[in-house]
Amino acid sequence: MTTSTTSAAPIQGEKRGGAWIALLIAGVFEVGYALSVNGSRGFTDPLWSIIAVVFFLFTLFFLSVALKRIDVGIGYAVWAGIGAVGAAVLGPVFFDETLTLAKGFWLAVIIAGVVWLKLADSPELDTRTQPAT
Protein backbone atom coordinates (compact mmCIF):
# COMPACT_ATOMS: atom_id res chain seq x y z
CA MET A 1 0.00 0.00 0.00
CA THR A 2 1.40 3.41 -0.91
CA THR A 3 1.53 6.05 1.75
CA SER A 4 1.03 9.70 1.01
CA THR A 5 3.09 12.29 2.78
CA THR A 6 0.87 14.41 4.98
CA SER A 7 1.56 18.11 4.91
CA ALA A 8 0.16 20.02 7.86
CA ALA A 9 -1.19 22.97 5.91
CA PRO A 10 -3.94 24.90 7.75
CA ILE A 11 -6.34 24.60 4.80
CA GLN A 12 -6.07 20.84 4.83
CA GLY A 13 -6.75 20.83 8.55
CA GLU A 14 -9.92 22.80 8.00
CA LYS A 15 -11.15 20.35 5.36
CA ARG A 16 -10.35 17.50 7.73
CA GLY A 17 -12.59 19.08 10.37
CA GLY A 18 -15.47 18.83 7.91
CA ALA A 19 -14.50 15.23 7.20
CA TRP A 20 -14.65 14.40 10.93
CA ILE A 21 -18.14 15.88 11.15
CA ALA A 22 -19.14 13.75 8.14
CA LEU A 23 -17.67 10.71 9.91
CA LEU A 24 -19.66 11.40 13.09
CA ILE A 25 -22.85 11.82 11.02
CA ALA A 26 -22.06 8.50 9.28
CA GLY A 27 -21.67 6.88 12.71
CA VAL A 28 -25.00 8.25 13.94
CA PHE A 29 -26.74 7.00 10.79
CA GLU A 30 -25.08 3.60 11.31
CA VAL A 31 -26.61 3.40 14.80
CA GLY A 32 -29.98 4.39 13.28
CA TYR A 33 -29.47 1.73 10.62
CA ALA A 34 -28.81 -1.01 13.20
CA LEU A 35 -31.85 -0.01 15.28
CA SER A 36 -34.20 0.27 12.28
CA VAL A 37 -33.02 -3.08 10.84
CA ASN A 38 -33.98 -4.54 14.22
CA GLY A 39 -37.26 -2.62 14.19
CA SER A 40 -38.12 -3.92 10.71
CA ARG A 41 -38.66 -7.39 12.25
CA GLY A 42 -37.08 -9.31 9.37
CA PHE A 43 -38.28 -6.66 6.88
CA THR A 44 -41.93 -7.36 7.62
CA ASP A 45 -42.57 -3.82 8.94
CA PRO A 46 -42.67 -1.57 5.83
CA LEU A 47 -41.98 1.76 7.56
CA TRP A 48 -38.90 0.60 9.48
CA SER A 49 -37.70 -1.30 6.40
CA ILE A 50 -37.75 1.89 4.31
CA ILE A 51 -36.04 3.86 7.09
CA ALA A 52 -33.35 1.14 7.33
CA VAL A 53 -32.62 1.37 3.58
CA VAL A 54 -32.48 5.19 3.71
CA PHE A 55 -30.12 5.11 6.74
CA PHE A 56 -27.95 2.52 4.94
CA LEU A 57 -27.55 4.84 1.93
CA PHE A 58 -26.88 7.88 4.16
CA THR A 59 -24.25 6.08 6.22
CA LEU A 60 -22.46 4.90 3.05
CA PHE A 61 -22.60 8.40 1.56
CA PHE A 62 -21.25 10.23 4.62
CA LEU A 63 -18.62 7.53 5.19
CA SER A 64 -17.36 7.88 1.60
CA VAL A 65 -17.22 11.68 2.01
CA ALA A 66 -15.29 11.33 5.28
CA LEU A 67 -12.82 8.76 3.94
CA LYS A 68 -11.70 11.10 1.17
CA ARG A 69 -9.89 13.13 3.86
CA ILE A 70 -9.51 10.78 6.81
CA ASP A 71 -7.21 7.78 6.80
CA VAL A 72 -9.24 4.64 5.91
CA GLY A 73 -8.17 2.60 8.95
CA ILE A 74 -8.87 5.37 11.48
CA GLY A 75 -12.12 6.30 9.72
CA TYR A 76 -13.49 2.75 9.72
CA ALA A 77 -12.38 2.26 13.35
CA VAL A 78 -14.26 5.32 14.61
CA TRP A 79 -17.31 4.57 12.46
CA ALA A 80 -17.50 0.90 13.51
CA GLY A 81 -16.95 1.87 17.15
CA ILE A 82 -19.77 4.44 17.16
CA GLY A 83 -22.11 1.98 15.40
CA ALA A 84 -21.47 -0.95 17.74
CA VAL A 85 -21.44 1.04 21.00
CA GLY A 86 -24.53 2.99 19.90
CA ALA A 87 -26.48 -0.17 19.04
CA ALA A 88 -25.49 -1.84 22.34
CA VAL A 89 -26.42 1.19 24.48
CA LEU A 90 -29.58 2.27 22.64
CA GLY A 91 -30.94 -1.25 21.98
CA PRO A 92 -32.30 -1.55 25.56
CA VAL A 93 -33.70 2.01 25.32
CA PHE A 94 -35.86 1.36 22.25
CA PHE A 95 -36.53 -2.36 22.51
CA ASP A 96 -37.37 -4.94 25.13
CA GLU A 97 -33.72 -5.80 25.78
CA THR A 98 -31.43 -5.79 28.79
CA LEU A 99 -27.72 -5.00 28.87
CA THR A 100 -26.27 -7.00 31.77
CA LEU A 101 -22.75 -6.54 33.15
CA ALA A 102 -21.53 -9.81 31.53
CA LYS A 103 -23.04 -8.86 28.15
CA GLY A 104 -21.58 -5.37 28.37
CA PHE A 105 -18.14 -6.71 29.23
CA TRP A 106 -17.92 -9.19 26.35
CA LEU A 107 -19.44 -6.66 23.96
CA ALA A 108 -16.72 -4.21 24.99
CA VAL A 109 -14.07 -6.87 24.25
CA ILE A 110 -15.55 -7.56 20.80
CA ILE A 111 -15.87 -3.86 19.95
CA ALA A 112 -12.32 -3.16 21.16
CA GLY A 113 -11.15 -6.02 18.93
CA VAL A 114 -12.84 -4.72 15.80
CA VAL A 115 -11.69 -1.12 16.43
CA TRP A 116 -8.12 -2.40 16.91
CA LEU A 117 -8.47 -4.46 13.71
CA LYS A 118 -9.49 -1.39 11.68
CA LEU A 119 -6.68 0.70 13.22
CA ALA A 120 -4.19 -2.04 12.29
CA ASP A 121 -5.20 -1.42 8.66
CA SER A 122 -4.27 2.26 8.84
CA PRO A 123 -1.56 3.42 6.41
CA GLU A 124 -1.22 6.69 8.36
CA LEU A 125 -0.62 5.07 11.76
CA ASP A 126 1.78 2.68 10.04
CA THR A 127 3.97 5.51 8.79
CA ARG A 128 3.82 7.28 12.15
CA THR A 129 5.33 4.26 13.89
CA GLN A 130 8.26 4.31 11.45
CA PRO A 131 11.33 6.10 12.85
CA ALA A 132 11.33 9.72 11.71
CA THR A 133 14.14 10.65 9.35
Binding site: L60, A84, W106, I110, A120
Partner: protein, 106 residues
Protein backbone atom coordinates in the same frame (compact mmCIF):
# COMPACT_ATOMS: atom_id res chain seq x y z
CA UNK B 1 -30.99 -20.90 12.70
CA UNK B 2 -30.17 -17.38 13.87
CA UNK B 3 -26.44 -18.22 13.69
CA UNK B 4 -26.90 -19.39 10.08
CA UNK B 5 -28.62 -16.10 9.18
CA UNK B 6 -25.85 -14.21 10.95
CA UNK B 7 -23.18 -16.21 9.06
CA UNK B 8 -24.79 -15.40 5.68
CA UNK B 9 -25.05 -11.72 6.70
CA UNK B 10 -21.35 -11.75 7.67
CA UNK B 11 -20.28 -13.28 4.31
CA UNK B 12 -22.11 -10.55 2.39
CA UNK B 13 -20.77 -7.84 4.71
CA UNK B 14 -17.26 -9.08 3.92
CA UNK B 15 -18.20 -8.64 0.24
CA UNK B 16 -19.34 -5.09 1.07
CA UNK B 17 -15.97 -4.33 2.68
CA UNK B 18 -14.03 -5.65 -0.32
CA UNK B 19 -16.32 -4.04 -2.94
CA UNK B 20 -16.43 -0.66 -1.15
CA UNK B 21 -12.62 -0.59 -1.19
CA UNK B 22 -12.54 -1.39 -4.91
CA UNK B 23 -15.27 1.16 -5.65
CA UNK B 24 -12.68 3.86 -4.89
CA UNK B 25 -14.96 6.41 -3.19
CA UNK B 26 -17.90 5.11 -5.27
CA UNK B 27 -16.43 6.44 -8.50
CA UNK B 28 -16.27 2.94 -10.01
CA UNK B 29 -19.79 1.98 -11.22
CA UNK B 30 -19.72 -1.82 -11.05
CA UNK B 31 -17.97 -2.04 -7.68
CA UNK B 32 -20.47 0.53 -6.37
CA UNK B 33 -23.35 -1.68 -7.58
CA UNK B 34 -21.66 -4.72 -6.03
CA UNK B 35 -21.37 -2.79 -2.73
CA UNK B 36 -25.06 -1.84 -2.71
CA UNK B 37 -26.33 -5.31 -3.72
CA UNK B 38 -24.12 -7.08 -1.14
CA UNK B 39 -25.16 -4.52 1.46
CA UNK B 40 -28.82 -5.16 0.71
CA UNK B 41 -28.44 -8.94 1.07
CA UNK B 42 -26.31 -8.55 4.22
CA UNK B 43 -28.91 -6.21 5.74
CA UNK B 44 -31.76 -8.61 4.98
CA UNK B 45 -30.06 -11.57 6.66
CA UNK B 46 -28.95 -9.36 9.57
CA UNK B 47 -32.61 -8.45 10.12
CA UNK B 48 -33.51 -12.18 10.20
CA UNK B 49 -30.70 -12.83 12.71
CA UNK B 50 -31.91 -9.91 14.85
CA UNK B 51 -35.31 -11.60 15.22
CA UNK B 52 -33.45 -13.77 17.75
CA UNK B 53 -30.37 -11.77 18.81
CA UNK B 54 -30.59 -8.52 20.75
CA UNK B 55 -29.66 -5.68 18.39
CA UNK B 56 -26.55 -4.72 20.41
CA UNK B 57 -25.26 -8.30 20.43
CA UNK B 58 -26.24 -9.22 16.86
CA UNK B 59 -24.87 -6.02 15.38
CA UNK B 60 -21.54 -6.28 17.24
CA UNK B 61 -21.14 -9.95 16.24
CA UNK B 62 -21.98 -9.10 12.62
CA UNK B 63 -19.68 -6.10 12.19
CA UNK B 64 -16.73 -7.63 14.10
CA UNK B 65 -16.85 -11.06 12.42
CA UNK B 66 -17.12 -9.29 9.05
CA UNK B 67 -14.03 -7.26 10.05
CA UNK B 68 -12.18 -10.51 10.76
CA UNK B 69 -13.40 -11.95 7.43
CA UNK B 70 -12.19 -8.89 5.49
CA UNK B 71 -8.68 -9.23 6.96
CA UNK B 72 -8.57 -12.99 6.22
CA UNK B 73 -9.87 -12.59 2.63
CA UNK B 74 -7.41 -9.70 2.12
CA UNK B 75 -4.51 -11.85 3.33
CA UNK B 76 -5.52 -14.94 1.33
CA UNK B 77 -6.62 -13.41 -1.98
CA UNK B 78 -5.68 -9.73 -2.14
CA UNK B 79 -2.01 -10.06 -1.14
CA UNK B 80 -2.42 -7.91 1.98
CA UNK B 81 -0.11 -8.66 4.87
CA UNK B 82 -1.50 -10.40 7.94
CA UNK B 83 0.52 -8.41 10.48
CA UNK B 84 0.80 -9.39 14.14
CA UNK B 85 -1.40 -6.39 14.98
CA UNK B 86 -4.21 -7.69 12.77
CA UNK B 87 -3.72 -11.20 14.13
CA UNK B 88 -4.04 -9.85 17.68
CA UNK B 89 -7.27 -8.03 16.71
CA UNK B 90 -8.70 -11.27 15.30
CA UNK B 91 -7.85 -13.11 18.54
CA UNK B 92 -9.52 -10.41 20.67
CA UNK B 93 -12.71 -10.47 18.55
CA UNK B 94 -12.89 -14.29 18.63
CA UNK B 95 -12.15 -14.27 22.38
CA UNK B 96 -15.03 -11.83 22.88
CA UNK B 97 -17.43 -13.92 20.77
CA UNK B 98 -16.49 -17.09 22.67
CA UNK B 99 -16.81 -15.26 26.01
CA UNK B 100 -20.23 -13.95 25.05
CA UNK B 101 -21.35 -17.50 24.23
CA UNK B 102 -19.88 -19.01 27.39
CA UNK B 103 -21.65 -16.32 29.40
CA UNK B 104 -24.82 -17.65 27.74
CA UNK B 105 -25.88 -14.21 26.56
CA UNK B 106 -25.52 -14.52 22.76
Amino acid sequence: MSWLYLAIAVVFEVAVGIAAGKANGFTHLWWTIATLVSGGIATFFLSLALLTFDVGIGYALWTSLAGVGIVIVGALFLSQKLTWKKFLGILVVIGGVVGLNLAGTA
